[in-house]
């Protein structure tokens, strides 16, 4: 077995069983710095390709690399466990979107965009998931907290940076489009497990 192939297997074993997202720094460390970052990147790219037609895939997220099951097979996995994964309510997702797209924001900003008083459970749900954090305080009376999304939020959405979020829609152009209408109706009827 060549050295390259051996290193590749080691990296594969580590990425698959690490129980966490692994970054290049850690991979560099396990080989005592004997494998260059460039080689590590090449090997990871190869592994990524190897899994193109498999049930799992290697993705790069904000904190590093990790294997995940391909989302297209999730319905089978749910069947295996006989579970239905929880979905966040519209209120939670709208709050999350405001924080994600308009960060950093205060609770007051969220209230003024949504036009309703904020329910503390909603923000707490996002804190509990580790998706948002307080990154400072606004220079206003009461020093309201400034909320922003975390790396874990990007990790859990399989994204590397905030720029990879779906772009904000241009309402001025698309408002009357029927497609949006359909989307919203689909949204309304979906089963919501996380209620306010």
């Amino acid at each position: 077995m060549s050295n390259f192939s051996y290193i590749k297997q080691v990296i594969e074993a580590c990425l698959l069983s690490a129980n966490d997202i692994i970054d290049l720094e850690q991979l560099h460390h396990i080989f005592d710095g004997q494998v260059s970052y460039e080689s590590l990147r090449d090997i990871i790219e190869e592994i990524k390709n190897d899994y193109q037609f498999k049930g799992i895939e290697l993705i790069k997220v904000a904190s590093g690399y990790r294997f995940r099951s391909k989302p297209e097979f999730q319905s089978y996995i749910n069947k295996l466990y006989n579970t239905k994964p929880a979905r966040y309510s519209r209120a939670v997702m709208e709050t999350l979107s405001i924080i994600a797209y308009r960060q950093p924001v205060t609770r007051g900003d969220i209230e003024s965009i949504r036009g309703v008083t904020i329910n503390s459970n909603i923000v707490q749900t996002l804190f509990d998931r580790g998706w948002i954090e307080v990154i400072g305080h606004k220079q206003l009376p009461g020093k309201p907290e400034l909320l922003a999304t975390t790396n874990k939020f990007l990790d859990d959405l399989g994204l590397e940076t905030l720029e990879q979020l779906p772009p904000l829609p241009n309402i001025e152009d698309s408002f009357s489009s029927q497609k949006e209408q359909d989307l919203i109706e689909e949204y309304d009827t979906q089963k919501e497990l996380n209620n306010e």
């Binding site: 069983s17 999730q74 519209r90 797209y101 036009g115 949204y187």
Partner: protein, 261 residues
């Protein structure tokens, strides 16, 4: 109540058809209807969209009438309304009244400066909310860990953790601390400095005897190893005897036997 245009109301996806005015609308139906909305902005967007109106050119009088009709119906039925809904009704009525009021020369002056449309702030809020609403739908379609996929965490075979590594110097350090502590404690234990080589020979001899139990004295000596070895090894045998770890015996033929004690 009689002003409700029921064609706008859907219950369980079924559009409500025109009903006789005297028919009782169960409060629960309206409650369910209200619960569809995340707030007054959401309800307004719904009203605008249901009529294919342009958000940028809201016919404010029409929308205000519809909105206020819903709100009044809810209140008539004693459905608890969040204060935001009432606040929005006030905002709409105010905008409507400003648009309908005849323009005085002074307001004309002000308007000509900045083309102020009283609807503008509301339109901006509606656009911003609509953006976020659609963004949240898009965001919701991004695969989420635990909901749409699982992280792979292949089992690692149970194994002993790597045992600690030590360096010879670590032993020296341990000995130092031991010495210092015993001096500090002013104990009676005097740790005699002794040639390590003798201790090593003692161990080796004991190791041989552990196997053989009893050994001829001379067999404990490897004569090829030189004089200093022989001396140290001899002292080691004597030391073992002194410490009671071995017994040295003379048999009838005057052979010296060394036994494990």
């Amino acid at each position: 109540m009689q002003q409700i245009t029921t064609s706008n109301v859907t219950i369980n996806q079924e559009p409500m058809v025109e009903l006789p005015h005297d028919l009782y609308i169960p409060p629960d139906a309206l409650r369910v209807f209200l619960e569809m909305f995340e707030g007054p902005l959401d309800l307004l967007l719904y009203l605008i969209r249901k009529q294919n109106l342009d958000i940028l050119q809201i016919p404010i009088a029409k929308i205000t009438n519809q909105y206020v009709t819903y709100i009044q119906a809810m209140q008539t039925l004693n459905i608890e309304l969040a204060s935001e809904y009432l606040l929005m009704a006030a905002v709409l009525l105010e905008i409507k009244s400003r648009i309908l009021l005849p323009r005085t020369p002074s307001t004309l002056d002000a308007d000509s400066n900045d083309e102020h449309d009283p609807r503008q702030e509301l339109i901006n809020r509606l656009i911003e909310y609509e953006k976020i609403k659609q963004a949240s739908i898009n965001l919701n379609s991004v695969p989420q860990a635990l909901r749409d996929y699982l992280w792979i965490d292949v089992m690692v075979e149970e194994s002993q953790p790597e045992p600690p590594k030590i360096q010879p110097n670590d032993l020296q350090k341990a000995w130092h601390t031991l010495l210092l502590r015993s001096i500090k404690a002013q104990t009676e234990h005097h740790i005699k400095k002794q040639e390590l080589s003798i201790r090593e020979h003692m161990t080796n001899i004991l190791r041989i005897l552990k196997e053989a139990k009893s050994k001829c004295f001379y067999d404990l000596f490897d004569v090829t190893q030189g004089i200093s070895y022989l001396i140290v090894n001899f002292i080691a045998v004597l030391e073992l005897g002194k410490e009671g770890m071995i017994s040295i015996l003379l048999d009838d033929d005057k052979n010296i036997w060394v036994n494990l004690a």
